[in-house]
């Protein structure tokens, strides 16, 4: 299987308020189709790692490869493009643009990418909403739907450009067990049916156990 994401000797320090070594020599690989979860105690550096992997945080030491290409030290604009095309990010808090409709929220990253016509993008977006069972909400304002629905819209948005990898920072942390289960099943299906790679930070042990692989962190290090 080809490697989608690889981290080599990632180290990160917070300099304020005191010098603090958050991430210590992180090394791992994610292959195509892997459904991986990251677990670890609160404060061990999971979110910090995810921000680096998603290219939003560039203040680190080490090397990061996406589809076997080094992306460390790429320019900000190049990284924006990479995030747009290759990485889908799902937050713990379902970040949507509240003034736009559900459909517009999902379409936005594809419009930014600009590779397809408006009709194609709209069609794709409706299809993603359909996969997540929320196509009936397409025309609603993003501020007028429930939390679980928002989370699924955010997942649809992460999927719109058919990225190489989806990253999630506790995407089910705010959901009841029913909705949490639902999101898991969606992820599972995407990885099995479409060969999508997923890297999900979670505190939910049941969730983690059902993934292909669990990365456990402690004090900024990967211990298993």
């Amino acid at each position: 299987m080809s490697t989608v994401l690889q981290a080599k000797h990632i180290n990160k320090y917070f300099k304020k308020p005191v010098l603090f070594h958050v991430l210590k020599d992180i090394n791992f690989k994610i292959s195509k189709g892997d459904f991986t979860s990251i677990m670890g105690k609160s404060g061990c550096g999971k979110s910090t790692l995810l921000y680096i992997l998603s290219t939003m945080d560039t203040d680190y030491e080490g090397e990061l490869y996406l589809n076997n290409k080094l992306i460390t030290n790429n320019s900000k604009d190049q990284l924006s493009y990479i995030r747009n095309k290759h990485i889908g990010f799902v937050f713990q808090f379902h970040y949507l643009l509240s003034e736009f409709s559900v459909l517009e929220n999902v379409m936005l990253p594809a419009k930014k990418l600009g590779e397809k016509s408006f009709q194609e993008i709209e069609h794709d977006a409706m299809q993603k909403l359909h996969i997540l069972n929320i196509d009936h909400l397409a025309k609603k304002r993003a501020s007028q739907i429930s939390g679980g629905e928002k989370q699924r819209v955010a997942i649809a948005r992460a999927l719109i450009n058919n990225p190489s990898i989806i990253m999630g920072d506790e995407p089910t942390g705010n959901l009841d067990s029913h909705n949490s289960n639902n999101v898991f099943n969606i992820f599972k299906r995407l990885s099995e049916e479409q060969g999508l790679s997923l890297l999900i930070v979670t505190h939910d042990e049941d969730f983690a156990k059902r993934t292909n692989r669990i990365i456990t962190m402690e004090d900024g290090k990967i211990i298993s």
Partner: protein, 420 residues
């Protein structure tokens, strides 16, 4: 790579969900630009009206013979004292020097010059108006009424009667409005004129002259050149002043210099004679621009504030946009385009308001004795003001939008996402 339709769509949505703030910000610009257009159109209208007033009736070059002592005193011509130092006390000017020698050939020469639109003679005479037992001092100027009307808009200042009437009437006079009022005279009456030598002539009033300056109107009257020559008992070549109008006013100074040298006469150009006039124009322009720029700066701060607030409210949106692949520049453009849309809408509305206001002002009656030809407030409808106005609006909103949008560009999405 910038995808403008997406950026403008987001900008539009932001503006439409904050309609109230958008309108207030745009109104600030509208107010500034509207005031600028109104002020500048009115002020420059006023300027050019006053300029016209002076320029139309003032000769570009005024040629006359300054009464001054002879440079060469008679003693210098006496050979016996050639090698001595002569001291002459109490030099008096020669009396006969008011007359311009060879005036007619000079006028002929000037009229053949291709820079000259026209050169016409005048005779200035001090006279007294006699009414019963009282005598009022005054000036009688001999003119060619039709030429004066053609070159110096003389007809604008003849409030009753006409220059043509004067031309036709031998022994006719255009009496100053102030004189006429003092002596209770009107068209058709006769007025007696006495020269400084004491000769008395009756003249028929064929019109009333009003310059708008009370001091002038109280003494000044006009008659035909021939009439004045006869009153003074002078020959037909007796001319005291020559007024010249050029095709290009800017040539007045060099031309005047040249005439002085060539004919040994005094020649005053219009700019030297009316230097204070330029100052008034400059100051009015200064006030106009100072007020307009102040208004626009205030409007600019309004936009700056509103965008700053908007960016503060939209922190989350900015973080999402950046996380999903919008670059810092894209985000900056989103907010810049909001500022520019506000500027454009506000600016265009401002131009419209300015246009409406100036049209209204242009119909307000404005009657004053000083300006007999003016009926309503003067407005200068110059397209350039509208170009400058909209440019003003765009530049000020651009500057007001630049700083906040720069801040939005720099927002670190990780900080925002962590902060939640």
């Amino acid at each position: 790579m910038t995808n403008w339709s997406v950026i403008l769509n987001i900008a539009k949505t932001h503006l439409l969900t904050k309609v109230k703030q958008t309108i207030i910000a745009a109104l600030g610009v509208t107010f500034g630009i509207g005031a600028y257009i109104t002020l500048v159109s009115f002020m420059t209208g006023l300027n050019s009206m006053l300029d016209d007033l002076i320029l139309n009736q003032t000769p570009h070059i005024h040629i006359y013979n300054e009464i001054e002592p002879s440079k060469k005193q008679p003693v210098a011509m006496y050979d016996a004292f050639k090698n001595s130092v002569n001291v002459v006390h109490s030099i008096k000017p020669k009396l006969s020097q008011k007359k311009i020698h060879n005036a007619l050939p000079i006028i002929h020469y000037l009229n053949n010059d291709e820079d000259v639109k026209g050169a016409i003679p005048q005779i200035k005479a001090n006279i007294f108006y006699i009414a019963g037992s009282i005598e009022i001092g005054g000036n009688l100027t001999g003119i060619n009424p039709l030429d004066e009307a053609k070159l110096f808009n003389f007809s604008d200042y003849v409030v009753k009667g006409s220059p043509e009437m004067l031309q036709k009437t031998d022994n006719g006079i255009l009496l100053g409005a102030g004189v006429a009022k003092k002596m209770s005279l009107t068209i058709g009456d006769r007025v007696q004129i006495s020269t400084s030598k004491g000769d008395v002539f009756p003249l028929k009033i064929v019109g009333i002259y009003q310059s708008g300056v009370a001091d002038i109107d109280a003494i000044q009257s006009f008659a035909n050149i021939k009439t004045v020559q006869r009153i003074l008992g002078e020959a037909e070549n007796y001319i005291t002043d020559i007024n010249v109008k050029l095709h290009n006013m800017n040539l007045a100074l060099p031309k005047a210099k040249k005439i002085e040298q060539q004919f040994h006469l005094t020649a005053i150009d219009i700019n030297t004679a009316n230097a204070q006039f330029e100052t008034g124009t400059t100051i009015r322009n200064l006030i106009t621009y100072a007020v307009s720029i102040t208004l626009l700066i205030v409007a600019g701060f309004g936009i700056y504030n509103i965008l700053n607030m908007l960016i503060y409210e939209k922190m989350n949106d900015i973080a999402i946009l950046k996380a999903t692949g919008f670059s810092g520049k894209d985000v900056q453009y989103i907010f810049m385009s909001q500022a520019i849309i506000i500027g454009l809408i506000g600016g265009i509305l401002g131009l419209l308001i300015g246009l409406i206001f100036t049209n209204i002002i242009n119909t307000i009656p404005f009657k004053t004795d000083a300006l007999p030809t003016v009926e309503t407030y003067p407005i200068n409808f110059d397209g350039w003001f509208y170009v400058i106005g909209i440019t003003f609006a765009m530049v000020s909103t651009f500057l007001a939008g630049y700083l906040p949008s720069k801040k939005a560009k720099k927002i670190d999405p990780v900080k925002i996402i962590r902060g939640q």
